[in-house]
Symmetry: C2
Subunit: 235 residues, 2 copies
DNA sequence: AGGAATTTGTGCGTATGTATC
DNA sequence: AGATACATACGCACAAATTCC
């Protein structure tokens, strides 16, 4: 299979370019973009296409659009808050997020107990520890279907995974389903988390879809609901 | 303030009409809709407008669109699964959902400890018990800003709240933010829930946005994470 | 197996409505 | 009140995926 991601679509390219401009600081927080017609003319695209791209950014929380006013950069949607769609907060409020990569491996799905997702029989497993204000608070295990990504290594994965998907793999996560309950911490949990394996934790299972019909990603998160909470932003 | 909801927009009317047809059984599960161009001609609207309406249904999970194939009714997205965006599942899988209305009251926000939402100083409080396969499993408290709804009573509220918003209030929930942690069960919990007040439960706080800039709804859910899990579908 | 027909997706240009300043 | 700027709506052309003969 291995259908190559459609980086060919113009609105995707435009959206990625805009994001790049925001991230590189060319567009600062709160700044108003030029009018859509002006931007469209400058970029030599139609207003419709530009608007489609702007919609993507809006869904991602990086842009706030106001009729009659303008399109405003919401940098909080990206740098501070690298996990736009869902994130962990301390109960007292948001904190500065960081993530520490544990390992990246290419594995055969059937060798692990996994639900059905994707089309390949292999997947990349990414394990991370996430922290807020230097307090380690989430253990994360992500499975990305191989058909959506070739040659993922520890070097190539960046801090914001969905940004990595967009920029390196050409994948825009369009739909997600989270199942939240409780689950014992697995035994591969590193000591930094300051919880013991077997301890009951908040638990999130996630399926994520790109453009196709079936999920390309499956992931599991463990977090301590006594000190932090899970935030899902649906849009 | 009290800007009346824009039920005047053509794509909204079209979407509501389609939903009505699906819910009334005129369109059955799995059925393929006529081609977009045909439908558009019959309804005397442009394909663009129809497509915008179809997209809303797709986001709501009631429609599955396949390029080169057609638009298919996904009745699972509504009747069985009345709470499309987020729902409670038993750990063993989905069950048949029902809800029992406890009370509806119009209250002054400042008399209760509530976060900021909406523009009015009053809100309607809706309390419900939700069950799966006749097992009561969720206690629900919803606050809907008065500026978005006038004259809500126990008689007018229907089983699917967001359907009620759409059909009676002309509000399409476009964005939602959920905060999930744990919390003690409040003391107004009825005995049917079979948990004692003070018992630690799974806890979801939710803000919901319509078209405007600030949330029109705030709600709290308590659920037992030992027997059920919370599902959030982001799209 | 292969090619034509069907059907949705992308992209363009334009006109009008509506909220904001 | 007028200007500005995004939202809605229309019609068309071509691309891509699917279906069917």
């Amino acid at each position: 299979m291995s259908t190559q991601p459609n980086t060919t679509h113009k609105y995707m390219l435009v959206a990625k370019m805009l994001i790049k401009n925001i991230q590189s600081g060319q567009l600062v927080d709160g700044e108003r973009l030029p009018p859509e017609r002006v931007m469209a003319t400058e970029m030599e695209i139609s207003v419709t296409t530009l608007r489609k791209a702007l919609r993507l950014l809006e869904d991602d929380g990086m842009l706030i659009r106001r009729q009659g006013s303008g399109n405003y950069v919401n940098a909080r949607g990206d740098p501070q808050n690298r996990y736009a769609l869902f994130r962990i907060e301390k109960l007292s409020g948001p904190g500065h997020p960081k993530s520490q990569l544990l390992d990246v491996e290419r594995l055969r799905k059937s060798d692990h107990q996994l639900p059905n997702f994707g089309t390949s029989d292999h997947a990349f497993r990414i394990r991370r520890l996430r922290s807020l204000d230097d307090m380690v608070c989430v253990l994360e295990e992500i499975w990305l279907d191989e058909d959506s990504a070739t040659n993922i290594t520890a070097d190539t994965v960046t801090e914001s995974l969905y940004q990595f998907y967009r920029e390196s793999l050409g994948i825009w996560i369009r739909r997600v389903e989270d199942r939240i309950s409780v689950s014992p911490l697995p035994d591969w949990c590193p000591a930094e988390l300051a919880c013991e394996p077997g301890q009951i934790m908040g638990f999130v299972e996630r399926f994520a879809w790109g453009n196709g019909q079936e999920p390309i990603e499956f992931s599991r998160n463990w977090f301590d609901p006594e000190t932090s909470r899970y935030v899902a932003r649906l849009s």
